[in-house]
Symmetry: C2
Subunit: 125 residues, 2 copies
Amino acid sequence: MQTPLPNGGLRLQLRLRHGTKLVMGPGRADLLMHIAATGSIAAAGREMSMSYKRAWTLVEEMNAHFNPPLVEAVKGGVGGGGARLSAQGQAVLAAYRALEAATRTAGETFLAQIEAALQVPPDPD
Amino acid sequence: MQTPLPNGGLRLQLRLRHGTKLVMGPGRADLLMHIAATGSIAAAGREMSMSYKRAWTLVEEMNAHFNPPLVEAVKGGVGGGGARLSAQGQAVLAAYRALEAATRTAGETFLAQIEAALQVPPDPD
């Protein structure tokens, strides 16, 4: 699952690169969101139909790009530990979502122009 | 070559999807720009280190997504014909560039927040 920015039938996706490396994008932001919701990298991956290995790899990559890291381990508890967003993780996710919203608002006219130029009427999806 | 949106060291890339299909993104926009500049799909592809086949495929995909098509053939001339952007192609490219600029301006604060959270200082690239 990815969170699109609905703008009629056009969906906008923002990717942030540092040099050539992707540091944040729709899939990573959604993974962070699901980690925050589930308290578990594995459960977050499952909600996105992503393998355990893939979810862990993405978290490791994100953690390597940011300082302090975005996702931190939680020791103990009923489930024997889990994961949560660090304060930094919450802030970066919030900034990315705000960037999406700002783009949708500031770019509304241009998105509508491109949408109007499409061959077929947009799907309702 | 892709045209990044410099925002310090973070580069922002916008992808527009119609359903699951990519209809416009940094590579496609740059291809349109190079077609406009060179008057040739082949030459535009060469400037982007893209194969002739790849450039043609991208143009065919873009033309299928939009109506009227974005790229049109030019008959005759010294070089035996070439390609150019249709009025629609010019309008869609301009709207995409304006969307990039609007995002950079409206999202400046959020981009700066994410950039400040990066592990290492951004490369000057």
